[in-house]
Symmetry: C2
Subunit: 342 residues, 2 copies
Amino acid sequence: MDIEELGEFGLIEQIKESFKCRDHLLAIGIGDDTAALNVPGDKATLITTDLLLEGVHFDLELNSAYYLGKKSLSVNLSDIAAMGGTPRYFLLSLGIPRRYPVESLREFFRGLKELSLNYRVKLIGGDTSASTGKLMISVTVLGEAPRGQVVRRTGAEVGDQIFVTGTLGDSLLGLYILRNGINPTRSLRKLPRVVRKHLDPQPRIKEGKLIAGKGLATAMIDLSDGLLADLGHLTRDVGLGAKLWREKLPLSNYYRRNILSFEQDKWKLALTGGEDYELLFTVSRAKVKQLRHLSSRFDCRLTRIGEVVEGSEDITVVDKNDKPCKINYLTGYDHFRARFAS
Amino acid sequence: MDIEELGEFGLIEQIKESFKCRDHLLAIGIGDDTAALNVPGDKATLITTDLLLEGVHFDLELNSAYYLGKKSLSVNLSDIAAMGGTPRYFLLSLGIPRRYPVESLREFFRGLKELSLNYRVKLIGGDTSASTGKLMISVTVLGEAPRGQVVRRTGAEVGDQIFVTGTLGDSLLGLYILRNGINPTRSLRKLPRVVRKHLDPQPRIKEGKLIAGKGLATAMIDLSDGLLADLGHLTRDVGLGAKLWREKLPLSNYYRRNILSFEQDKWKLALTGGEDYELLFTVSRAKVKQLRHLSSRFDCRLTRIGEVVEGSEDITVVDKNDKPCKINYLTGYDHFRARFAS
């Protein structure tokens, strides 16, 4: 048997099982957006890591080194956001093909630095190596949060309302457009908004902190693998079901205008497209009003898209007449890939 | 210009310069064996990361998956040892070729788990991905040390005596022997000791903690790139020189008996062979006696091999008549590789 047959989730489950441990300082181990360690005082240290591989997670033809530098860090910051935390430090490891142009490397670091300054995250270490193959990037981020405010994936309850920040499906639509031949080195301002969203996602640090700070979310995750796949972690993984109101899914104007040139099913990318890096979270009915009020301070829109239901472990997408829609496509990335704690 | 021309140290220097930062909690940033963060209370958190790439750092033909699992973690523990710290947690990221056998992956995790139990280090997260190319492994370790005991690379002074644990050059000699056709899946006990040293290095956690706990070292590093290269970080990097007494270099019996079958110069591998993962450190003359006493508790031998001298920034190797020896080989790994904080 090779790894493709075992599959990613088989592997992750085996690792989780084999490395189960008890530790009085370890508040959250394998299986959430980040790990969390209790440190003296009232804070928790959050830790997350992401691997980005050329040919799997990015394509040098479709991505400028500048945006790649930014995105290597921002996808990790998004995991910190999903815990309600503040990112503080990061480590970077690079495997660099011997013939990789120094100019590209400079651009990579220019983007990385820009993002790190925007979010006040500091580079404190790493490792570099020649690679005999392709470019590979590994980033580890350390953050912190008040101990009582860390939001896990596992707290949703029946009746909780499901919310999402921003709009859905834009990132994958942006990738489709890039594949159609838009030059990613063009000035960012001239790129369609969905392409920008793909190249330069904005981690929702501010929104995550606001939500966590007020104790409004019962569970939270960032959207990296697509709405249906990631919602499954908040509901199916804890034995619950979910109902999604299809007509409520937030779509950008660009998405509405252009999606049918790429997909017959207008909703497909909103439901399954990965890498939106928005926050998906559940809120008890009693706190919805408070959340609405708080959201005036968000930099993005906030949309109620469904609710948590009794334990069928299914996610049902319903139309405006509350009729279940047929979903006949895969619910997440179809390449072998999984995170086991980030 | 491509990255091979710029070279590793050019790159690292540019990164260090570009990402220089001030932070009241950051005790040690880029450029030591680990980074160190002050946490509330009297401890420091140590963080280090290492990238291991197939075809650069290991060869699947010469390494069994079991030893590879162990070594992925032990090389990082060695960095924690060099700060005098205790390793606590680790994250693992794997890029796995689609056709990599599940059996090998199980062996990898068996080795990893065994080592993690031996040193009581807990897996708290990571990331897995398919790789379109070769196997790649990224490990990040978090450790801790009493804040006042962390040993840096930068404290050596003129007159300090240079010590090393264990023996030198065995790991590279072991690799030579593997390349000559010894099967690494043979039972470990039947492998020559130098091969074991290459496949399964023992991080000197215990010794590092003892040395740091008594405040005996003015500077310390672990031997990953070879004695001359790593000693340069303790002396040349702070504007000092060093004198090494060649006849004092600790060689294993196996090394003495076999080295001349591989190298004309008996001392070459002891001076330049990488991956010994021994501790190299400097001690003021006044504390040598105390160190000798302490070393009765070490699991390995301890050898005084030289001293720190005035600022020529050179390392001189002298023979038993105190005459300088001619060293006409490169002083470290010759492939593009550098760490910038691990």
